[in-house]
Amino acid sequence: MIHLERRPTPSRAWGAASPLLAVALTMVAGGLMFAALGKDPLEALRTIFWDPVLGEFAWYFRGQILVKAGPLILIAVGLALGFRAGVWNIGAEGQYIVGAICGAAAGLVFYPTDSVRIFPFMVVFGAFGGIAWAMIPALLKVRLGTNEILVSLMLVYVAENLLASAAVNWLRNPDAVGFPGSRNLARWDASANLELIEGTGIHWGVVAALIAVIFAHVMLTRHLMGFQVRLAGASPRAARFGGVNTGRLIVLCLGFSGMLAGMAGLFEVTGPAGQISIDFASGYGFTAIIVAFLGRLNPLGIVAAGLLMALTYVGGEAASANLGLPSAAISAFQGMLLFFLLAVDVLTNFRVRVGKGVAA
């Protein structure tokens, strides 16, 4: 018989090792799934994990990885801060969309003027849009005690409708004879968020993600605000006793994650996506939740997790194109990653004992 025994202090070694073990287990289980689909499991895994980084066409894929990882990391860092405090913002996707719409609209007011001040102006408005969308669940929770999980999630669907109306109606490109979608922001010099270094995929969103990671890391480990975030998440009652203003913390955490999600949306719409279109929402806001947990809600861990998740996206796309793997199999593969991560998490807090167990 196997039984679990609570560790007095969580194991640091397992805390670090469990993501690696989860990745290994995902490869095994994913390989079995690919084999069951009639593909060579080793070739499939090589296509997903090896080719994009070191394969023949890696020069193309490597840039793609950072393009995908940038928004994931940027959003996940904000979410992780809230999750650490026990504030569950599930609606980053909505904040991402509203940030993109606000930023794009703010820039398009000046079209076709050309000025270096327009892009920063758009970034500010993107951040503002994300914050505004996140303030709805925040204020409802603080004032009326509503559940932020439900409110923030529902607002994603509102945001999607807002996006559709912007794309076909009030942000539609007046010069595009009847086609839905806004003007292409990546092709307008004032707003284009282009690659900063040729061939690397690094655009302003990646830079912002890096800054956010450093900022969040310093705040969590050194600043009183980060300490209060950790207190509120670990023990709300002790946090109040210690002087944490719970309402202010909720507003702050949702505001910060909304801001980063909004900025991610703006960097996306001015760069890789190029325009506000009906299918602009790509699920980054939801995938970032996985990235945040995969990175152990730790900003530095999130960098690794974001890169890994981006790799499964880029490699997964290559695998479905080259090997004919169904895209659902790639989604299942990513789901396995989260599943195994949560499963091996048990080892951090518990010790496994094999042998005759006496129920105490």
Binding site: F227, A238, G243
Partner: protein, 504 residues
């Protein structure tokens, strides 16, 4: 003299600790047997073994001459063993009769059950209305629900785990009368406690446990309390000594403090008022659930009260939060160690920063200087003899007594103007309790004002200068402790007014 239950060489080990080590003793039929020992001496493990909740690693039990090895509580109950736990398992929203029915294998119809409850409660002098909702009952009345639930099974052995910790002195007398009557009818009682005077008044045999082993079998009626205490603790105990000092000016003044309850079954504070002077210890006594938590939350700043209700040295603090109150010198220590006074999974250094950040100057431009938090934690560990490998250990890894010394020490070493503590020695071993009380008295000797909220009346009589009673969220007038008797305290606590002893 027939033996009801015989224990032979019971041993139970958990990882890292032997809870029971070769424990043997016998309980006489119709006897009131005390099981005496400090927290962690192995009392709970032993009674859980008897009640079928824990399976011993070795050893055996014999009940009424037959081998007894209950696999689960149901088997123990079927064999005639009943237990009243220290923490009640009652549903507050249900009635007394419904609660009793929930614990039965084949409950009779509620009306018949109510009649049975009434009958048993009258026979044993435990007045209780089966139709009342448990949420509206006092702690003493809730305990009666648990006792009656047991008595309906006609047990031959009744185990009572720390039954008096929630009772007023008068309620204790009623309980003792019931237990004596049960014993006279032939029911054995295994009485677990660390309150020596109670055991001397009630029990006819006592087994003393220390570190999981039996260290003595005594007749408590002929053994002095001091001797019992020494055998229980293993060393000599010294009573805390007050450092003589005249009470100075009024430091903390609370006036007309009223707050609605947090939850449906909470207690509202109703026009609470008191003052404490420098160098003085004010004791606030009361039975659990009469507003102690609410009072502490109002004083710590976790809940704000109306303007003018809390003043420190003439400054109104009633609308200020915990951090600003700490800066002004008003420090508090809540009852619940884990999850309120300390964050279980955080280290001692982080827990030192929880309340010490402002007064111990751990902040620089909003950044925490962790070196100062660590050295403050070390300072507490050294000054209060906290047994721990170091300041990097999680709070939850400490034993109750050590963590309590840490959280009280954390407030004491910040040199407060006023220190308010709730249940400072609850669930703490005798040596740690004595150290904590001495620290509070020393702090008063240095000119701080101390408020001790406690359900342990002996503690309050020992260390406080003045005594007030908290009952139903109201505070009585204050009385100098020197003039108090247990009986007078009981009347002040007011818990006994509607429950005369029935004719036993």
């Amino acid at each position: 003299m027939t033996t009801l239950l015989q224990l032979d060489g019971l041993t139970k080990a958990y990882p890292g600790v032997v809870a029971n080590d070769d424990v043997s003793f016998a309980i006489r039929a119709g006897g009131v047997h005390a099981l005496l020992g400090e927290n962690g001496a192995g009392k709970s493990t032993l009674v859980k073994t008897i009640y079928g909740l824990v399976k011993p690693d070795s050893g055996s039990m014999t009940l009424k001459g037959a081998p007894f090895a209950p696999a689960e509580p149901r088997a123990a109950r079927a064999a005639g063993v009943a237990m009243v736990f220290q923490h009640f398992s009652l549903f507050e929203a249900l009635s007394v009769a419904e609660n009793v029915a929930l614990g039965m294998e084949n409950p009779p119809r509620l009306r018949d059950l109510a009649a049975r409850i009434r009958e048993v409660s009258e026979t044993y002098g435990l007045p209780l209305d089966p139709g009342r909702r448990v949420g509206d009952l006092s702690a003493g009345e809730r305990q009666r629900v648990e006792i009656i639930r047991c008595l309906l099974q006609d047990p031959s052995l009744l185990i009572m785990d720390e039954p008096t910790s929630v009772l007023t002195p008068q309620e204790v007398e009623i309980l003792f009368a019931t237990l004596r009557k049960l014993s006279a009818e032939g029911t054995s009682i295994l009485y677990i406690s660390h309150k020596l005077e109670e055991i001397r008044a009630l029990c006819d045999a006592a087994t003393i446990l220390r570190g999981g082993r039996v260290v003595g079998e005594v007749d408590p009626r002929t053994t002095s309390a001091a001797e019992l205490a020494e055998r229980m603790v293993g060393t000599k105990l010294t009573a805390p000594k007050a450092v003589a000092g005249d009470a100075g000016e009024v430091v903390l003044a609370v006036a007309e403090l009223s707050l609605p309850p947090v939850s449906q079954f909470g207690t509202p504070l109703q026009e609470v008022g008191f003052t404490v002077r420098a160098g003085e210890v004010l004791g606030i006594g009361g039975v659990a659930g009469n507003g102690q938590d609410e009072l502490l939350a109002a004083l710590s700043g976790e809940r704000l009260s109306k303007v003018g209700s809390i003043t420190l040295d003439g400054t109104d603090l009633s609308r200020r939060g915990p951090t600003m109150r700490r800066a002004a010198g008003l420090l508090t220590g809540p009852e619940e160690r884990l999850g309120h006074a300390a964050v279980p999974e955080m280290t001692l250094a982080e827990n030192a920063a929880l309340t010490g950040a402002t007064r111990k100057e751990m902040l620089a431009n909003g950044f925490l200087v962790w070196g100062r938090a660590r050295s403050f934690a070390d300072e507490i560990i050294a000054a209060f003899d906290v047994r721990t490998p170091g300041n990097h250990v999680a709070a939850q890894a400490l034993s109750g007594g050590n963590l309590q010394k840490f959280v009280i020490g954390r407030e004491v070493l910040q040199a407060p103007r006023v220190l308010i503590v709730n249940q400072p020695t609850w669930g703490v071993d005798a040596l740690a309790a004595a150290a904590i009380r001495q620290a509070l008295l020393d702090l008063a000797g240095q000119g701080a004002a101390i408020v001790v909220i406690s359900q342990d009346l002996d503690e309050l009589l020992e260390i406080s200068d003045r005594f007030v009673a908290l009952n139903g969220g109201r505070l009585s007038g204050d009385v100098p402790t020197a003039t108090l008797t247990m009986e007078k305290i009981g009347l002040m606590l007011g818990g006994a007014h509607d429950m005369e002893v029935a004719h036993v």
